[in-house]
Amino acid sequence: MSEIEFLSWVRGPGFQIAVIIFIAGVLIRFGEILLLGRKKNLAEAKGSEMSSGLRTIITRSIPDKTTFQRSTFTLVAGYIFHIGIFVTLFLFAPHILMFKEVIGFGWPSIPTPIIDATAVVTIIALLAVLAHRMSNTVLKFLSTKEDYLVWLVTILPLITGYIAFHRIGTTAPTLLAIHILSVELLLVIFPFTKLMHSFTVALSRWYNGAISGYRGVES
């Protein structure tokens, strides 16, 4: 297989397979969760489930003062790499072109040097997160193979993307193919790992807010 053939497989059938697994997987996971259902609360309500649930989806992104002081590293590093991934994934011009091809519409990009710097910061933040996970007593104790696997497949697209953009090592088509392949790996394992939190966080925060709000507490 020539490097062009490799690239076209990765961009074509490979990508399609990955996206299908991703979408089907996410739908299955949501089905698994929602089909379990939830009993109606029979206690007299003191507040609304819906508004409190929606509120918590937003407010849970902002920690209270004590929590911030006690979990500063996790919060700061967490914010940086999440925003960094968002910016590099959704605001980089070539990515927007790709989205436009797939979903039919695009949106404005931000200058490439900013994306480049963001990618570096995000990679550093993820490395710091890994070091924290391997050294902190609680994180070391909690961490499973899945946590490390998810970390790896999250940082790979950033690293391969950075290398491809700067054309380090080998030819552009091969570098691009490797980058896309790393994204496909991420898509394929996504539904079956904690990466699902990207979607279920809304559900989980909603339930938390709803349970609390029903009792008249803002959570």
């Binding site: 698994e32 089909l35 379990l36 009993k39 004590t66 994180l139 939190h197 339930y207 008249g216």
Partner: protein, 418 residues
Amino acid sequence: MSASLDKGINALKEQVDSTVAAFFSSCVHCGMCADACLFYTEIGDPTATPINKTEPLRRIWKSEYTLLGRVGKMFGLTAKVDDALLTEWETLVYDNCTLCGRCSMVCPMGIDIALLIRKTREGMAAAGHAPEGLIGATKRAVTIGSPMGVKLPALMAQINHVEKDTGMKIPLDVEGAEYMLLLSSMEIMNFPEFIEATAKIFNKAGVSWTISTEAFEATNSGIQIGVADIAAELVQRIVDAAEKLKVKTVISPECGHAYMAIRWEGPNLVGKPFSFKVRHILEVLDEFRKDGRLKITGKETQRLTYHDPCQISRRGGVIEQPRNLIDMFADNFVEMPDAGKMNWCCGAGGGVSSNERADEVRLKVFQRKKDQLDEIKPDAIISACSNCRIHLEDGLEEYNMDIPLMSLTETLAEHLAD
């Protein structure tokens, strides 16, 4: 597989619903819940990380309710729940957790971890992995009617005392009364002043109220140990008495979990909405305040603070009422850091105080409360839960701190104008 393990696994399966699945699907192992839990912050053992306490329930969810887990199970790859796991987890779930719910407020994914631990207890108890102290309390609650073994004659003796001392009449089994007051065994045995204070306030407020001789116990060991059937039976006793006396409102006394049991879990445990309202005593008193039924005389000039009982504030929603009431008689009120919905637990709720095995750890984690108190140095602490009150007194003694404890209801009664 032993019969009891089988029961435990079935009990865990029954706990899984869409909330449980959404919560477990969202955990990213960030560890922030550990920083929110006094059993981790004061001791430093990572096994006490709140989300780790839910492991038995998580394994059941994963192996039975996820595609990957089920496939893994066929190849023996998905972790199983066995007696060894439950034995190991017993102390984590019962001794190192008060179900205070602080972790549930901090989790960035919004996981209600305390709810998951509460649900895990259902499986632990069914499999025979609950602590002796809680089993004993639950047995006494079912057979005698009180976790402390308090029978009606004991209550009658205290009521007679109050009636003799004050000349007031304590109304018993009055049909059609507006309010039916419940009491905790702790109040009957250790703080009968609560009965006197409530009688005084209610008489002054001019409302009709009563105590049922058939269902006066407010506490519910069933929800602490995690046996829904027993919890439902204890709630049903109150429902029957309230319906028999045709009262409008049942009052939960100064006890945290009693309020959770009757107010929030009660109707769900018995499977139908109540025909009466349930209010915490502080909610009722605050209503009296709003209606202008409370005339207060004299102010407390000492530096007072309020300890929020977790099940009343964070898990119960009664947060501003105690502050409104304290404001009526306190001139020098000061809040602890993190007061209100983010308050730190005293360390002995959720059945921990009924579990002798946890005596050492509950006093160790009291260090958190000590640190909070050291920051504001109050002259006295007001609370609204007898269990918090007993444990706070224990803790203060252990750490050589001389700060008196006051009940909100009792202090308010002392300030009623004649």
